[in-house]
């Protein structure tokens, strides 16, 4: 049923990316790649040459790290790539610097155009080199309103929303029947 699968971890490691295999059963993707801002375009180019398609681009908002001189903005951009010919999904994420600028990949993957515009709508991340960053899903007058930015009280730090580095445990507590609802 499942076709022959090739592991693409080596291909990305050889290009100098920080790639880690993940447990597909728990996370739903095979490879996790942590990028820095300068690697984004090279990564997209590598993925395109290897024949991956872009699933989505999005972001999320966490509490920024304290004590860093460079400082990150607390925003993370997430890219997901997958293949047409075999089950292989990649999650790549990049921390957005204080300038809020991340290079656009919309000239490599034209499909990223709308996804990046949407991410700018929701989080205010500026994709450098994007041909048109006008609001896509939000109204034009809401260009400075970013609905998915969380309030200070609701923010969690990045490690609170990441998998623990040791083996993840499965939540099983207070098994209570829900059928009454």
């Amino acid at each position: 049923m499942v076709k022959d699968t090739k592991d693409y971890k080596e291909d990305f490691l050889n290009q100098g990316f920080d790639a880690t295999e993940t447990a597909y059963d728990q996370r739903g993707y095979h490879l996790e790649v942590v990028l820095n801002v300068n690697q984004v375009r090279k990564f997209a180019q590598t993925a395109y040459e290897l024949g991956f398609y872009l699933v989505f681009v999005t972001g999320f908002h966490v509490r920024p790290d304290e004590g860093h001189d460079t400082g990150n903005s607390g925003l993370e951009v997430v890219y997901q790539f997958a293949r047409y010919d075999q089950p292989y999904r990649i999650k790549a994420c990049v921390s957005v610097p204080n300038s809020l600028e991340v290079p656009s990949i919309s000239d490599i993957y034209q499909g990223a155009n709308w996804h990046e515009r949407e991410t700018r709508d929701f989080y205010g991340v500026v994709f450098g080199g994007h041909p048109n960053l006008n609001p896509l899903l939000l109204a034009e007058e809401d260009a400075d309103f970013h609905p998915l930015l969380k309030e200070e009280t609701n923010l969690k730090s990045l490690h609170e929303v990441s998998w623990p580095s040791e083996a993840p445990e499965v939540a099983k507590e207070g098994a209570e029947d829900e059928t009454g609802r």
Partner: protein
């Protein structure tokens, strides 16, 4: 008609939508035209944007279930399926086999209903009025069947974490078998009415050709991608639920024009019926819902789940933070990526061909706008 705005010598802008019948919902496409030729079609989205993703992260994960059906209201059950499977994967919930079979049967029925609605609406776009009367007649049977167990006709909220909310009965099985039998008899009518109709062929053959490379650059999925000859279907490629237990094929087209996309969907109806038949034959006994905690805690970390909706790959991406409310919930919808190729695909074509391409993409606007 709208007064076109003159830009240069016989070049003008024309608004197609947001109330145009062939945009199938509130979608605006700003067309830069020269005579009857489209130079630059630019879709304008967001007319029915409801921010489902914000709603997803502001309530417990079980309360988001009704939202899933309100994105793609034409084929809502795969949206249910993706969401419950995501939470089940994240929280490690087991699902009884019978429940998975029921999910597959109802999802496939919903897929057939969606393809039938598309078929009628597409032909209406192309000027053929009669077929929609036949397809809606068939679709009505499916809606009746699904209504009998889910309680709703369109925006289903039938699946639950760990199963489905109600078992199917003999009446449902009987009605479904009768529908499969009836549907197979209808193919001949559709072939006579549509597939061999010379006007239909002239309006679709060699129109809107999507090359495999173009499909990859835009992340196209579903029948729109398979029309271009790439046999990618999440049900086969990344098998979920009990799909690996059934035999079915992935129909593909050859050159990726509107006719290929039409043929792929027509042949997919038969494949869905095959899955339904096999699932009914082998339907296991047992409970339809496992015990799950009332408050499902989403452990820290992210999780992704992809399913094949009627229009392509639907991905839910979730970020847990230890509470029962998702920290972030991203919904990747297929029509969004499919439509994004329109500015490139629609350059330099005739306006009636653009209508044909839009129809062949099977767009559902509430899904794109979310």
């Amino acid at each position: 008609m709208l007064e076109p705005e003159i830009k240069e010598h016989n070049r003008f802008f024309l608004n197609m939508g947001p109330q145009h019948p062939s945009t199938h919902g509130v979608l605006l496409i700003v067309l830069e035209m020269e005579g009857e030729y489209v130079l630059d079609p630019q879709p304008v989205l967001g007319f029915i944007h409801r921010m489902h993703e914000k709603m997803g992260e502001s309530r417990p994960c079980s309360s988001f279930m009704p939202n899933t059906a309100r994105m793609d209201y034409v084929c809502a059950l795969p949206y249910n399926h993706g969401y419950v499977s995501l939470i089940e994967r994240k929280a490690g919930i087991e699902v009884p086999k019978r429940a998975e079979y029921i999910r597959v049967i109802t999802s496939e029925l919903n897929r057939v209903a969606s393809h039938l609605l598309w078929l009628g609406a597409y032909l209406l776009d192309l000027g053929a009025f009669t077929p929609i009367l036949y397809t809606f007649d068939d679709r009505e049977h499916i809606l009746d069947i699904l209504e009998s167990i889910t309680g709703s006709r369109l925006t289903y909220c039938y699946y639950r974490f760990g199963g489905v909310c109600q078992d199917i009965d003999d009446k449902f099985i009987e009605a479904t078998r009768a529908f499969v039998k009836r549907m197979r008899k209808r193919y001949a009518i559709y072939e006579k009415l549509v597939t061999k109709n010379i006007i239909f062929i002239k309006r679709t053959e060699n129109i809107g050709i999507v090359s495999p490379d173009m499909a990859l650059r835009y992340g196209m999925t579903g029948p729109n991608l398979r029309g271009s000859g790439i046999a990618y279907d999440v049900r086969k490629n990344e098998p979920y639920s009990v799909y690996p237990e059934f035999e079915f094929e992935i129909p593909v087209g050859e050159q990726g024009d509107c006719l290929d996309r039409y043929m792929v969907r027509i042949r997919e109806i038969e494949q869905s019926l095959r899955i339904i038949e096999q699932a009914l034959d082998r339907l296991p006994d047992g409970p339809v819902r496992s015990k799950v905690p009332k408050n499902i805690k989403l452990t820290p970390g992210d999780c992704n789940f992809a399913v094949e909706a009627a229009r392509g790959e639907l991905s839910y991406y979730l970020l847990g933070d230890g509470t029962s409310t998702p920290y972030r919930l991203k919904v990747r919808v297929p029509s969004y990526s499919n439509l994004s190729c329109l500015p490139e695909l629609g350059r330099g074509i005739l306006l009636p061909d653009l209508v044909s391409i839009l129809g062949s993409f099977d767009l559902v606007i509430p899904e794109i706008d979310r």
